[in-house]
Symmetry: C2
Subunit: 383 residues, 2 copies
Amino acid sequence: MSISLPKAFNEFDEARQKGFIDVKELKEKGKNIVGTYCVFTPWEIILAADAIPISLCAMSDEPIPEAEKHLPRNLCPLIKSSYGFAITDTCPYFYFSDLIVGETTCDGKKKMYEYMNDIKPVHVMQLPQTTIGDDSYNLWRNEMVVLKERIEKEFNVEITDENLKQAIKARNEERRMLKKFYELGTLCPPPITGLEILKVLYGATFKTDKNEQNQTIDNMIKSVMEEYNNGVRKVSEDAPRILITGCPTGGATEKVIQIIEENGGAVVCFENCTGVKGNDTLVNEDIDPIDALTDKYLNVACSCISPNDNRIELLDRLVDEYKVDGVVDIVLQACHTYNVETYRIKKFLNENKNIPYMSIETDYSKSDIGQLQTRISAFIEML
Amino acid sequence: MSISLPKAFNEFDEARQKGFIDVKELKEKGKNIVGTYCVFTPWEIILAADAIPISLCAMSDEPIPEAEKHLPRNLCPLIKSSYGFAITDTCPYFYFSDLIVGETTCDGKKKMYEYMNDIKPVHVMQLPQTTIGDDSYNLWRNEMVVLKERIEKEFNVEITDENLKQAIKARNEERRMLKKFYELGTLCPPPITGLEILKVLYGATFKTDKNEQNQTIDNMIKSVMEEYNNGVRKVSEDAPRILITGCPTGGATEKVIQIIEENGGAVVCFENCTGVKGNDTLVNEDIDPIDALTDKYLNVACSCISPNDNRIELLDRLVDEYKVDGVVDIVLQACHTYNVETYRIKKFLNENKNIPYMSIETDYSKSDIGQLQTRISAFIEML
């Protein structure tokens, strides 16, 4: 059962590059591609139309200077990078996308989509600003229906309840497997590093064949545990256990994870969109599929929701489950909602969980690596 | 009919200070006070409960350092200043407020209200992110009803349709008078300076006796026109006519208006919340009052709405009506929505209206005055 682990991890590490070819081939076979930017997007509706959803959230600083010709410099790098790839037409995933689906999550994305709409058709879902009240639920439910109708029209297909239910099952299966994988982080010491966890989670967003992905991850888990049970230890038992929270991580922001682990910390959990936030809760398979999707995607613990009590509940539980020693909150530069929430999160962790906390505001450049080194090493030393 | 103009303008200039005493007296008489932060707030519903709405939008940099203990530095000064006054309890208007009404307009305000709720009861209205579609209308209409019910409960009053209709009439009357006043700016040359227009508009937000306010402004207009018709010219006929757009102005941001006028420009129009944005459209007096309020307050041309076509339409018209030579867009630091919109506004003005445009990102400090001098004088010279 054992597979070569470095090879398996590399496969996910290179998933973004490899995925280009997969998408090109799928496109040539006549498949429709839908680009998305958020865990709020109900991929199930796209899958139910036999289309391929792909994540376009950009994690590289390369196209940012071009984006800044239209967008302010003082804006989240994820938004600038995503828009930059779009206007420079340098992202094959964007290039092959037939439709973009966005949501009115944060101010930056909401306003950026207005400009992106000049490049590709963008369907923006109206996300309620709170989860409280029937109005929010009804608005979001109707947005599910509107998206379904838009996709049906755009791709000239009919999406049946049966299609939706199958897609829900498939996505739940994928989530279960990803969860099984990242929950390796609950072990003391963890059998894999945080950087390895991240590379698999991030790489998975570029894989289009989810059956193969599930199989690969399952094999990987078995190999990891085989080694671990044979006494192999990659991470020291004494390494302070770090939970990452905040904005999406991957690509350029891997620097933070790298610095934490180079300085003796072990990242055991990603409470963000790349990790737990999207995968922790499954979609209910036993009720009306549109209701089930509404419920799932209204309760994403994102800071754009006000109040965002779901995040507190999630952190409360994860800190215990992963036996966390310290929390690092990664805020992408100028992300107001996560930035404002740092005060509440710090207070909650310090006072209610008695856990040290630090927040880091960073972007996709390498210019702050020295400063991050200093701050992070001091934090880990303190734990 | 003539009144002493410097005295009349001073009265508005000092309105913020004087208003403190009025509010204290009203409070002692048992009146309920409702603090608000946005032109999206339907003041009519507050007035219909015989309560006093007051604007708490803060325009001073004084309390910002205290606010930055909870809020990020990289956030709009209006939000930080407003929150700073609240936590330091240094704003009598906030102190006397029984209830705060906010809206989910921008990310910064939305998240700040979560913290403000720990200081005073804050009722947050769920503003839709777009004006398009029945869902937006229905959501916003329901929020009007929810606010009405909250105020009824909070102050133990019943708000009848008749109360609402009277309040709508009164507010329309106030808007008509303010509009009549700021439309003095359409004259060539304008009979008053932009700074004078601003001081009256900003000062009016602190006046609680609106009948008296209407009378004072009416007298002021008559005096101004009497002088003007007698040949008095305060502003040169050759002064380039500037329209201000963007974020709210007043208090600390008066610096921009001052610099424009010191450098030979004449500010003739304020297309922002302090000026035209809230007063241009009246509330329909002939339909169901809740419907009328929904319609009015859904169509505020604010950048937090996506897409914000109303702003383009408004600018299109105002540039002609005020015979504008150049547009200055004031963006408060880190205001993502107005900042992202600058690209669209510049394009529209340059290409469709053939009008020069400059955007200025500023805060409540004095540190950028030198830089503003340089940029603004170069812009005006070019006109």
